[in-house]
Amino acid sequence: MSLWDDIKALAEEVKAPLTGLSITDSYSRQPRVTIQYPDVRRPLSRRARWRHVLNRYENGLEKCIGCSLCAGACPANAIYVKAAENTAENRVSPGERYAEQYEINMIRCIFCGYCEEACPTQAIQLKDIYELADDERKDLIYTKEMMLTPAPEEE
C-alpha cells in the first residue's frame, strides 16, 4: 500500500459528498418556490372559490333579494336567510323583498359554489378571501354585515 494508493482512496471518498454538494449547488441557483406568507401572497386562480361576498349594485342597493334559493341549493345546509319587505322609507334592495338576516356557517360550508349558481341576481359570489381560520366556533358564522361589500358612500 503506497502513498499514491492512499491519495486515490481519499479522493474516492471525497468524490461522493462533492457530487452531492454539486447537486445542491445546482438547485441553489434555481428560482425559489417558497413564498414569505403572510408578507407575500400567491395570486389565486381566477376561479378560486373561497369566502362569500354579497354584492351591491352601483347605486348602493343590495343585489340580494332574500329569496333563499342559495339556502335551498346548499348541500351542507349552511345558509340561513330571513327575508323582509322593502318599504319606501327603508329600501335595501330593488323590488319587494330583501334579506333582513343572512348568515353562512363557514364551518359547514364546503365551498361548492352552488349558492352562487342558484342566485338569480348574482348577489352572492365566492371570492378569493381564504383566510377564514378562527378559534371561536360562533365567530365562524358569518353575518350579512361581514359579507356585504361596502356601500359606495362609505368608501
Binding site: 333579494i65 332574500g66 329569496c67 333563499s68 339556502a71 335551498g72 319587505e85 323590488g95 319587494e96 323583498r97
Partner: protein, 641 residues
Amino acid sequence: MAETITQAPETVNLTIDGKKVTVPKGTLLITAAFQAGADVPYFCHHPRLKPAGACRMCLVRIEKMAKLQTACTVPVSEGMVVDTLSPEVKQAQQGILEFLLINHPLDCPICDRGGECPLQNMTFQYGPGVTRFIDEKRHFPKPVPLNDYVSIDRERCIQCSRCTRFQAEIAGDGALAIESRGNSAVIAPFSLDGFQSHFSGNTVELCPVGALLSRPYRFQSRPWEFHSTDSVCSMCGVGCNIAVQTRTNQLMRVNSRLNEDVNEEWTCDTGKFEQYWVNSEERITTPMIRRASVLKPCSWDEALTAVAEAFSSAAKSSSNTVAGIGSTRTSNEEAYLFQRIFRTALGSNNIDHRMHDFPIRPMETSLAAIGEAKAIVAIGFDPKQYLPVVWLRIYKAISNGNATYAHVSSVDDPAVEAALAVGEGAILLTDDHIASADLDKLTKRAKSAGAKINVLLPDNNSWGAILMGVLPDRLPSLQPVGNGARPKFEALWGGPVPDKPGLATWDILKAGAAGDIRALYVLGSNPVASFPDRDLAASALEKIPFVVVQDLFLSESAQYANVFLPASSFIEKAGTFTNIEGRVQPFGAAIRPVGDSKPDWQILSELYARLGASAPFFGPADIAREIAHSADKNTFAGDRR
C-alpha cells in the same frame, strides 16, 4: 263480474289513451282521466267547485269532436275515445302556458308561492321553455291588501276564478268577483269595504299562482324551509285538521288538512291567521313566585314545591279548602291528569271548568250530516261567527239540497216551527247559552217531529274537559261520583276518591270570596275575565290566600297569583282534543317549548310527583293509555292515527 259492472245503467265506459275505464255517469272527463292514470294539467278545476273551463289548460282530443275540448267541463259519455298524449295536445298545452305567462311576472324567487306553485310546476312539466313575447308586461300596483289577512298581486293572476267560485259556492258570500273583461280583468272584492268573509284564507290555498297571498306569512319562509306538523285547530270546537308549519322554532303558517268528516279541506280565517299568539313576545316563559307582593322569576323546583306544599297543607286540614278551575283548551290528557290529582292526591271533588251552567248533551247528528239536512235553524247564536266551519256545512245543505236556513234568537220563533214541520232531516243548532227549560221544551217538540238537536259547545276541548271528568259531580266518561263506577277508578288510581260532589265554579268562587277556600289552582282559564260575575271572581281570587295560575300570558287572573306556572301552547306539545261531535283527534308537537315553559301535562306530572304519585307520567301517550283503559269506548276511542 266485469260483465255485471259494464251493464249497470249508472256507469259509462270510455277509452282514455288506449286504456278502458268505467266511471259513474255524470263524471267529468278530467276525473275519469285521473282514474285512468292519465296526467292532465289544470289550474281552474277543483273537485269541490263547479266546472268553469276558465284556464283552458286541460285540453284533450276527443274522437269525433271538431276541436280540442277542456276535460274539466265535459261529462263522460258512453264509448268516448280520448287522447291526452298526442302532439296536437302537447302543442295546445304549450300554447296555453305561453299565453298564461305573457302577463305573469317571472318573480318566482320572491313570490311566496314559489316552490309550491301549480303554475311553476306545470310550466316546468308542460311549458314551452321560451316565450316569443318581448313587449312590456301588464302592470298593477302590488300587493294590494284586501282585508287584514289577504292581499292580492294582480300581475300574477291568471283569472282561473277558483277564488270567486269558492266564495260563491262554498263560503256562500260571493265576497270576490271578477271586475272588467279581457286583458284588464282583475279579481276584486264585491263589497267596497274590502274582502268581507270569514273564509278568505282558503282562497290563498286555492290560488294556483301567487296572486292571493297571506299577509301574516308574507316573506316569512319559503315552502321548502319549514317543517309541517299535523295538528288540530285550537280556536273553536269544530276541531279542524290543520298543518302547523314552523321554522326556527316559530310558527310560520297554518294550512288546512283534509278530513272529510270535519272540515273537508277548509279552515276559517281565525284558525288560519289568528294563531300567531304562539310567537308572542309577551308570553311568560319562566315560573314566577310572589315575593313582597311582586311576582318574581324563580326556578321550576321552587315554584312547584311551593304549590305542592300549599295544596297538601290545605288539603290536610280539610279537602274542601282546595279547588281547581280547569280549562276547555287543555288537551284530554291534561284535563284527565288535573282531575286525577285533585281526586286522589288532594281528595277533593272541587274541580270544574265551566264558566256558566250549560246542558251537557252530545250532538245528535254528525257534523257532516248538517250538510245533508233539509231544514236548519240556528237558535241564539250565529254559526258563521262562532263556529265558522259549521256554517260551511250549513251552506252546503242550502246550496246542494235546497235546505231552508234561519238564525233566530228564541226557541219560540216561527222559523223553528217551520223547520219542525219538515220533520225528519230538520236539524236545530244551539250553543251552550240555551236555558235548560227551553232545551227540554225543544227536545219534546223535536222528538215528536223527528228532528235532531245539536248543542254546539264553543271551545276546542269543551267536550274533552267534560268527558275527562273536570266536573265536580262526574268522573271520567260522565260517571257520577257517587255510583258504582267509583271503585273502578279507585283501583286504577290507587287511592280513595271522594263520593260527594264537590263545588262548581260559581260555588268555588262564592266560597273563595267568603274565605272558605285556602288554595286555588287555575289551569289555563281566566275566571276574572270570563266568569260572568267578574267582581265575584276578582274578590274570590283576592281573598284566597294561595292562587296558582298556569297559563301562557299574564292574564287578568294571574294578577292575583301567588305562583305563576308558564305553560306551552298547543303547537309545542302532543295530545288529543275532542271536538263538538265527540271526535278524539290527535295533534303533534311542532316546536320545542318556548323558553323555560313546559307543557301542561308535564307541569301537572311533576306536581303530582311532589304530591306523592306512585309513578310519574312521562308523556301524553302514557296518560292517553290510562284514559283508554278507564274510559268508555264511546268517549275515548284512543283513535291515534
